[in-house]
């Protein structure tokens, strides 16, 4: 897809109409469209994407994180969305600093975000503001450290 086509992507247009800063970067690679959203606008953007009749991204497919340590901002939150009515897929990308990795929870937009966010919290230590039950999910509650961070050794701490 050409850059100009990407700028006319319905999700990009609708988000920019709502807030000019909402879609700060748009990219397309390997047939997947990704929109970079500023951290503080994620919740608002998610609501628009779910409710706008031209978009209707009603199914939250996945939330995951990539740690680009030692680059800064080191964390990238990837939110994969599906619009069942429009047969479309979209990825939102939010960059988070290593100092203070906090982002608004999407739980109120898609209740399915509950365990996905708990998993990212558990393994990356990213805090989701507004999540009512942000506990570790696969690791024991008293576990120390966040194993999927790149500076956590594969064989565990020595």
């Amino acid at each position: 897809m050409e850059i100009a086509d990407l700028e006319r992507h319905p999700a990009v247009e609708r988000l920019r109409a709502w807030n000019p800063r909402a879609a700060e970067e748009v990219s397309e690679s390997r047939g997947e469209v990704a929109i970079g959203v500023p951290r503080e606008l994620l919740r608002g953007a998610a609501e628009r994407l779910r409710d706008d009749p031209a978009l209707l991204f009603n199914l939250l497919s996945d939330i995951t994180c990539v740690d680009r340590f030692p680059a800064e901002p080191r964390f990238e939150l990837h939110v994969h969305l599906v619009s069942i009515p429009h047969r479309a897929r979209l990825r939102l990308r939010v960059r988070l600093s290593g100092e203070n990795p906090v982002v608004d929870s999407l739980l109120l937009v898609w209740p399915g975000a509950n365990w996905m966010e708990r998993e990212v919290f558990d393994l990356f230590g990213i805090r989701f503001e507004g999540h009512p039950d942000l506990r570790r999910i696969v690791l024991p509650q008293d576990f120390e450290g966040y194993p999927l961070r790149r500076d956590y050794p594969v064989e565990g701490p020595r």
């Binding site: 199914l59 497919s61 990539v66 994969h80 898609w110 399915g112 696969v138």
Partner: protein, 398 residues
């Protein structure tokens, strides 16, 4: 004990710890049930007992080595996992897989779906007291596992799909073995249906149990047979086709009742649809042709060439010592696994080892809906509801 307010005044509740060793939890799932008598007031699933850090382990392996770990996620459908991971890496590399390999993949993943649904049906039935169905289902599943053994040498942890194609040429006589299954299965599926579909106990235990409204199912990110039993015809094979699924004619079975019985009917119908796909795939697979993409440096060279050609030997050595490095970027690939939308997210930083491999496990996400299914119902229904989600703890905990 705590006190909760109900319509008939305040009552004392008790907390029952179900699992992690309870046989009906299909592995090591623990559920904290808050009960008012026998009625569930609150249910809190607790997972993680089988966490093995597969995603982290993938980061320490080359792209090809990580395939063996994907088998261990959903151990009842290893080929679906292989397929999803390989497709994600192929997307990252921009690799075109030969049609012959694509059809072989389709045929084997559909057989996987049947085998997985058979285990589901058998164990769900035994949970609800129907012993004989369990034995029949495992008898047929064994036949399908024999086919996997023919192809890959392994009954379960096949690792048969590789990046760029499949591992080895299909074994001689595979058509006969698959043909046998195709002739056998329709009658056998009818047998299970004869035992269950009109069975009064089965109906009493499953009809109207564990209902989930379609809008709630979508909001909770529920996919697969659970979503289709709620009337939403969302199947990745049709909506976002992969591996040439768009060339196959098949239907998406849906129901609207959205209870345990509807999910049973959807899965049984899916087995029949899978047989249709296997039959078409068999006809499509050409007797000869490449089974691996032509990509030196990524796909290992043929054994014979490796022994006779210098260049092939160098590629062979490089692939198995340092691997290959996809261009930096990310790819997210989803497939319709027997349990729902299986997704693999792979991020590359341009080195031979992945920066990140993430698995969107369908039963992990579907299990979130359990409290919705069981609250207000009896403990006995909890067993039916866990079974109907079709969880695989290897995939839930990863």
């Amino acid at each position: 004990m705590t006190t909760v307010e109900t319509a008939s005044g305040p009552v004392q509740t008790m907390v029952l710890n179900m699992g992690p060793q309870h046989p009906s939890t299909h592995g090591v799932l623990r559920i904290l049930l808050e009960l008012d008598g026998e009625t569930v007031v609150k249910a809190v699933p607790d997972v993680g007992y089988l966490h093995t850090g597969i995603e982290k382990s993938c980061e320490a392996k080359t792209y090809s080595q990580a395939i063996t770990l994907t088998d261990r996620l959903d151990y009842l459908a290893p080929l679906s996992n292989n397929l999803c991971y390989c497709l994600a890496v192929e997307k990252l590399l921009g690799l075109e897989v030969p049609k012959r390999a694509q059809y072989i993949r389709v045929m084997l993943t559909e057989l996987t779906r049947i085998a997985s649904h058979l285990v589901w049906l058998g164990s769900h039935a035994i949970d609800l007291g129907a012993m004989s169905v369990f034995l029949y289902c495992f008898r047929e599943r064994e036949e399908i596992l024999n086919i996997f053994e023919m192809f890959s040498g392994q009954r379960m942890m096949t690792s048969y799909f590789r990046i760029g194609g499949v591992a080895v040429e299909p074994p001689p006589g595979w058509q006969k073995a698959v043909e046998r299954i195709l002739d056998l299965m329709p009658g056998r599926i009818q047998e299970y249906e004869d035992l269950l579909t009109q069975n009064r106990i089965w109906i009493a235990r499953t009809k109207g149990v564990g209902t989930l409204r379609p809008e709630d199912a979508i909001a909770l990110s529920v996919t697969g047979p659970m979503l289709r039993a709620a009337g939403v015809a969302y199947d990745i094979r049709k909506v976002f086709p992969y591996s040439s699924y768009d060339e196959f004619a098949f239907d998406i079975p849906t129901r609207t009742e959205s209870d345990c019985y509807a999910r049973y009917l959807v899965r049984v119908a899916e087995m029949r649809e899978s047989l249709k796909i296997v039959r078409q795939a068999m006809a499509k697979i050409p007797p000869e042709g490449p089974i691996k993409a032509d990509a030196p440096g990524i796909v290992p060279p043929q054994r014979e060439k490796m022994k006779t050609e210098m260049e092939a030997l160098i590629y062979h050595f490089k692939i198995f010592t340092e691997g290959f490095a996809p261009p930096p970027g990310e790819a997210y690939q989803t497939v319709e696994s027997p349990r729902g939308e299986l997704g693999v997210f792979v991020a590359s930083d341009g080195t031979p080892k992945p920066l990140r491999v993430h698995v969107r496990a369908p039963s992990f996400v579907n299990l979130q809906a359990l409290p919705q299914l069981v609250v207000g119902r009896l403990i006995a229904d909890v067993v039916a509801c866990i079974g109907t989600i079709d969880i695989i703890l290897g995939e839930v905990d990863r």
